[in-house]
């Protein structure tokens, strides 16, 4: 076949060679793409089957942890589970299930899941993700560690929040807030990159979800040299109605700032004054 093809092409004149060559390339690439589509569909079907199979095992495992007080050591007595734990796909699915379940539980159940996360080395997997070169893997690691409230991760998150990658920055800042409340963003006062409105709203949303409401030093954001950080500080003060920070906003107006910052600060004061009147 190959010999025949080589002979066929060698007998073509240059113009024919180019056209026939191009037709052959187009046809071969089309066939490859078609096969890729079929394989992609088959892969997804296989994945779904594996997922189903693993789901059953994982659900049983999590039931044991939550309701039968089993820990990782107890579970590892089962040889089948021990083998499954070494399979990356299984660990990834287990991680997702543990994290999702943890989001829905509080108190003792949440603590059991957290213990399992630490003992089963899933936490170590999350830390490895933080060191990955790809930002999206880092984000996954951040999500896992912050959901489990691993305080040790905080310093890593502060470092990652200095990134110039917008999504990694948002996730790292959200993680800082989740672990350390509003104090988790005070370091932004020294942030050098612009924090766009989308990131600012994500930070405020993360603050709304946290139960920690220690807003001490949040006014430091107003002293930043970065206008976007000042704007974030003003939005936080406004959103959480931090009346006690009013003097800092007034102080901000004493100095010359960009027009939109000036405007935002003035609007905030007008808002605070009208709230004050309503309360009185």
């Amino acid at each position: 076949m190959l010999a025949y093809s080589l002979q066929f092409f060698s007998e073509l004149d240059p113009a024919d060679f180019i056209i026939v060559g191009a037709i052959s390339v187009f046809t071969i690439v089309s066939i490859i793409l078609f096969i890729a589509i079929v394989l992609s569909r088959l892969y997804h079907i296989r994945q779904a089957v594996h997922f189903e199979k693993n789901s059953e095992t994982i659900n049983n495992l999590l039931l044991e942890i939550l309701f039968n007080d089993k820990n990782h050591v107890d579970l590892m007595e089962d040889k089948k589970l021990l083998r499954l734990f070494s399979i990356p796909q299984f660990r990834a699915q287990l991680m997702e299930s543990v994290i999702n379940l943890h989001q829905n539980y509080e108190g003792e159940y949440a603590e059991s899941l957290r213990e399992f996360y630490v003992e089963s080395q899933l936490m170590a997997d999350s830390f490895v993700k933080l060191r990955n070169k790809n930002w999206e893997i880092k984000c996954k690691g951040i999500k896992e560690l912050t959901e489990m409230n691993i305080k040790r991760a905080y310093e890593h998150l502060v470092e990652l929040s200095k990134s110039n990658h917008p999504i990694l920055k948002i996730n790292a800042l959200n993680g800082c807030i989740k672990i350390n409340g509003p104090q988790g963003i005070i370091h932004l006062a020294k942030h050098k990159y612009t924090i766009d409105l989308w990131t600012q709203l994500n930070i405020i949303d993360a603050l709304k979800k946290t139960s920690l409401l220690d807003t001490q030093n949040i006014e430091l954001l107003l002293e930043s040299k970065n206008n976007s950080v000042i704007s974030l500080g003003l939005k936080i003060i406004h959103t959480f109605k931090l009346f006690e920070k009013q003097s800092h906003v007034e102080a901000l107006l004493q100095h010359k700032h960009a027009r939109h910052i000036q405007q935002e600060a003035e609007n905030l004061l007008v808002n605070f004054n009208s709230y004050g009147k309503e309360i009185n």
């Binding site: 056209i19 191009a22 589509i37 992609s40 984000c139 948002i170 409105l197 976007s228």
Partner: protein
Amino acid sequence: MGSSNLPFPVELYLGIALAYAVTIMSSYLYLAFLSVKELKAYLKRNSFENYEVLLSSEYAPFLSIIAPAYNEGLTIEENVKSLLSLNYNHYEVIVVNDGSKDNSIEILKATYDLVPLQLDKVGSIPTKTIKAVYQSQNPAFNKLIVVDKENGGKADALNVGINISKHPYVVCIDVDCILDKDALLKLVKPFMETSHKRVIATGGVVRIANQCIIKDGRLIEVNIPDKLMPRIQVLEYLRAFLLGRMAWERLDGLLLISGAFGAFDKEIVVACGGYNTKTVGEDMELVVRMRRYMHEKKLAYTVSYIPDPLCWTEAPESLDIFNKQRSRWMRGTIETLWEHRIMFMNPKYKLLGLVSVPYWTFFEFFAPLAEVIGILATLYFILVGMMNWHYFFLLMIFVYSFAILFSILTLFTEERTFHKYTKVDDFLKLLGAAFIEPFYFHPLSVFSAFKGYVDKIKGTHSWGEMTRKGFNKKL
């Protein structure tokens, strides 16, 4: 054809035609490569985004949806309800009844309990006379404003909406489009993301909804149409939106945001004078004019594009309506390119002048003409006995195999990204369409586009009726 003893003009023509074909094919492949790269990056980014942030934030941008309606009485009640139930808080819906001859306005008044509204301030874009403005007495519909005006065309209706809108961003849509529930959340995000460049417009992907199942104004089941004409248009839209516009966004050279679904920075729209009522391609013309304005004012800006399938529309199923639509698209292209001819190959407009506008001129405006010239030349060669059938068939197979390759690449991209056509039957239907398209649909589109040239020369300015068949509804 193909032999070396051909007269010089013939050789020259053949050389130019070959160079043109190779350039257009290479540009398609290059744009596809860029699109796939950008799509992958977008999907990766998007998997970490939490759009619900916008639902609970008082800082989420305020939007005005403008939906022009002309003789939409049959569907207007349901369409407006679907617009009022989008997943977003800070928005108003302005329905502009553009002098409909049917009972659209009566239906709106009765359904939404409308009462006249006195406006304090109206914008400055000149428009036809507004007969009345209404708002609902029912607090459940407090986002709704209805304008009744003299007929002036889609562009004029949109300008009225812009004049009345209260908010800084306007979302211009076709009232009969089916929007994804999260469409606004996704459309508005680019306006908040860039801080060093002003985002002046954002567009979303439009997909074909024929034979899809719609319930309460929402798409609940995606299907591929059985009829060949709309089925091939599904493939055509996929190619254009997945493998074309994403690349132009990456290059920052996007010239067209579909009139069916796009958001604009109102301040810039107003500064540019709003939609041009003298063209039938008002959607493309506005984007080009806004970009030109930003360049001339030396303001940093960009036009963004969302690849998610957010807007679903009905494609023409009859040849007659298809012809009218494509003729209008071609006239719109000609009018826009002519209106902004100063930008053509003008380095002052950077990539826009040196790449985008020339690309549209050579490969969108000129392509149908080049094909017609090709057909005439082929007939001439046959008549004078100069036809080299060997090369004729070889080149035909070359072009056909490229068309198939490009369509399969589109299907592969869809498969690896949004994967909306999950049924094997649907995939096979699309694959079949890829093989039939070059023989059936392509000649029809060339004919319709050529009709656009003729209509333009004749001075036709009409839109042509776009009779909708309506979607399959699940009760």
